[in-house]
Subunit: 355 residues, 3 copies
């Protein structure tokens, strides 16, 4: 692909400082700027990587319209509005997503007669599809996936190998779920009895995963006790995340890996949870809340758009102030001990004077 | 089902404030009180939900014998001793547990000749059952489950899809295990060598899971180095929990999701672990211990029935006292700085006076 | 096996205090010293277990050359340089690793024609092997494992049941991976758009797992965005660990369960991570760093060989000093309040005197 074609695709301006370089150079691959060789196109969006512009071997580098670059003999720049999105676009052009499953229905798949499969649905080897399941057009159900009875999978959803979806759960269009994840297992509900044992509370609800949600590997999303556990449109969950029964996660909320959300907690939209965050049950978290990694949230958050840290959490500024102050406590103890002595001395001196 | 029949089943007293309502009303479903419609029966056990009694559309509401309710025209109450248990009872009546697997042995299951299957054992598609495995009467081994050689599964146990049980592990009667969980993987045992590499310590023990244990989705329970890792009768584990080699968990202990128990630690009976709790190895935790979410336990707990919080943990009252006090440290630093100045001034004044 | 043969194998000296005991006693099993019976051989390496020497029923006990033991009538000792390694050696002799999979290729496995399998590779039931996959000599691919296209598995690797390896990932020789683990799922990369939704960043890299790595059950190792996520030679990971995209873990580093390593973080060699440790992204951790359980690391660590604790972490000594001091803050608040009063009194007294 000629550089002029790349520029046209990205609506970019070519800025060449190289004698030999020009719009006809052949772009063959995309690469990270510090690893790029001749024939590669790369990008700089993060200022941390700007230093590589001087030394990169890339045939062209995508940069922002207003980025100031020291002129050199061998540099060809593509000036764009948003270098990162332009890079994604060219990345996808050079690396169209591999089909992770060949088309068709593998003969080893076990599919209930009452199930309906959309046009171009791809079904892998050793898949099990239950009664009355509905798989949308173009959806992928990869090897060894199990879909319980009455499960619904939307159009163009991608289910990677070794996923289990329990009875009755519904997945929207373009949902992506990675391997090892369990959707719809029983919520953790047990009623204590007088003899110290527990009675299992039947978990009769379902899980609803709306359109455009992506869930990482080895997550667990429990079905509701009654009603629904619901992950709303556009949510992105990383790996090894726990979503308990009757949780609701709002639109476009993202969570880093190993976070855990306890039962019936409702998280607003456009929130961000850091890794290993824990939320106790029955909370309501306002839209746009950001929670730092390893934080523990024990109370609802009403004011939208705030950032929190710590276990237990405090608003970001307070949390940082507390964290910084805590490191001074060992010295503070000494200071106070010394102050006590000085006050005692003062008291003794004054007493002596009074006598 | 007529309301009078429901009342008889629950040993309940009908208390009707409705003109038209009576013991012959037809109860068709159970529902949450805030969502119930005509034909539904609901309940109030938690005072937080009492407010819905005024507005619910339910045909009947199960309440405690002594609950005070403002009389209204359209209310029908069922007075019982324990509303929650009564609700569970009626819930199970209206929603008998779905059979998550049809009866019989799926022809795609691969079952060793030396394995023995109890009467009415159900075996799903693509299951693998090793040599000398014993599956009890009425047990369910769902799709894609793998049981290693010499595994024993008790009567009426329920193993959901995509579980792996390694060689030699034993599961009791009525054990429930959810999808993606691994039972019997090698414990994390490596001996450091002089060159910085590690020698694997063979993990030769097994896992024993006693009767009436339930384990959530995507947990990992390691086999013992020698002897057993043992989860005792009635234990309930939530999702994504780590149980290391040679751990013992006592009867009726429950743990919330993402807790981790390190090697050889012994937890007593009737304990409660919060979510994301971590215990280091070789500890002994007394019966009835409760540990708050995200706590870290580095020492054994000898006194039974105590509650702990924090990382590292302290007894609940002390932990709360410390947590509250820590938020005052930033101000305390200022207070002490100011005190220092005042003491200096006092010292200067006294010195001046003495001269 | 005669005790004299055991002694020869371990290069050990026999030290017998028993009348009847001698080099011809028959050793049949290995056992923990507190559980050993006649015919068993056991060991003492940890001083905590030394007390059992007096009461053990073992026919022989492996001990260090210089261990002082109270002489008794019935004891037979094997004196060696390193009792633990000697025990491992004899343990492996009596318990040769069980073949967790019979030899051969199970007829239910679905193997692409373009895949190549080494001599003596064992392939379990319901395995799926993609196009151009290469499985090394003697490797085990156990039941229900899925290997995507172009995956490479080294010689004598052991893949336990229900593992998924995505397209293009490469596993070295003698790699061991336990059940439920996912290798090569998409990294968590999403670019925020102006409307609050996210655009998926294609994850085009792979995972490389070098020789002699062991990974526990239900871990998640994400593929790189571009390039590689790399787990280097000799690394040992426990269960339920998160390894994000573009992470590099250095040679012989070990991590306890439920640790999480965020994107692009590079961990040095011979490091030790405790359980539930979390590292944020784009960090560099020096060789030989040790991080205590539940710690949170937010900055790079440059100095090698140091130990850290806490969330956020501090060097071990400082962390312990801070932790100990924090418990004194509630009393400190009282002390300072009292000091304030005494200073006020002093100020008042001085003022009075001055008047």
């Amino acid at each position: 692909m000629k550089l002029r074609e790349v520029a046209a695709m990205l609506n970019a301006e070519i800025e060449a400082y190289t004698v030999g370089s020009n719009a006809d150079v052949d772009i063959q691959r995309v690469a990270k700027i510090e690893e790029a060789r001749g024939g590669d196109i790369s990008f700089v969006a993060n200022p941390k990587y700007q230093k590589y512009i001087e030394t990169t071997q890339a045939s062209a580098v995508i940069v922002a319209k207003d980025l100031k670059v020291g002129v050199s003999q061998r540099l060809t720049l593509l000036r764009v509005k948003d270098p990162y999105f332009s890079f994604l676009k060219i990345l996808q052009h050079f690396n169209p997503p591999l089909d992770p499953l060949p088309p068709g229905i593998h003969p080893t798949a076990v599919i209930a007669k009452s199930a309906t499969l959309g046009a171009n649905a791809r079904i892998g080897a050793h898949v099990v599809i239950g009664e009355r399941v509905n798989v949308g057009d173009g959806a992928m159900i990869s090897h060894n996936v199990v879909l319980g009875d009455d499960v619904k999978v939307g159009e163009n959803a991608l289910l990677y190998p070794n996923i289990t979806v329990y009875n009755g759960c519904r997945l929207g269009s373009r949902v992506i779920i990675h391997s090892g994840t369990t959707i719809g297992s029983d919520g953790f509900g047990f009623a204590p009895k007088d003899d110290g044992t527990y009675e299992k509370i039947p978990q009769l609800g379902i899980v609803v995963i709306e359109d455009d949600v992506e869930i990482g590997a080895n997550c667990a999303v429990d079905r509701a006790t009654l009603g629904e556990t619901r992950i709303k449109r556009g949510v992105k969950l990383d790996n090894l995340i726990q979503v308990a029964h009757n949780v609701v996660i709002g639109e476009n909320t993202v969570s880093a890996a190993q976070a855990g959300i306890s039962g019936s907690t409702k998280i607003g939209k456009n929130c961000m949870l850091g890794g290993q965050v824990g939320l106790t049950g029955h909370l309501e978290i306002a839209d746009g809340t950001k929670i730092g990694a390893q934080s523990g949230i024990h109370h609802s958050i009403e004011k939208p758009g705030m950032t929190y840290f710590g276990s237990p959490v405090h608003p970001q500024r307070e949390a940082f102030r507390i964290q910084a102050s805590i490191t001074q406590v060992p010295d503070l103890l000494n200071t106070v001990r010394e102050l006590q002595k000085r006050v005692e001395q003062l008291e003794a001196q004054l007493k002596q004077k009074s006598e």
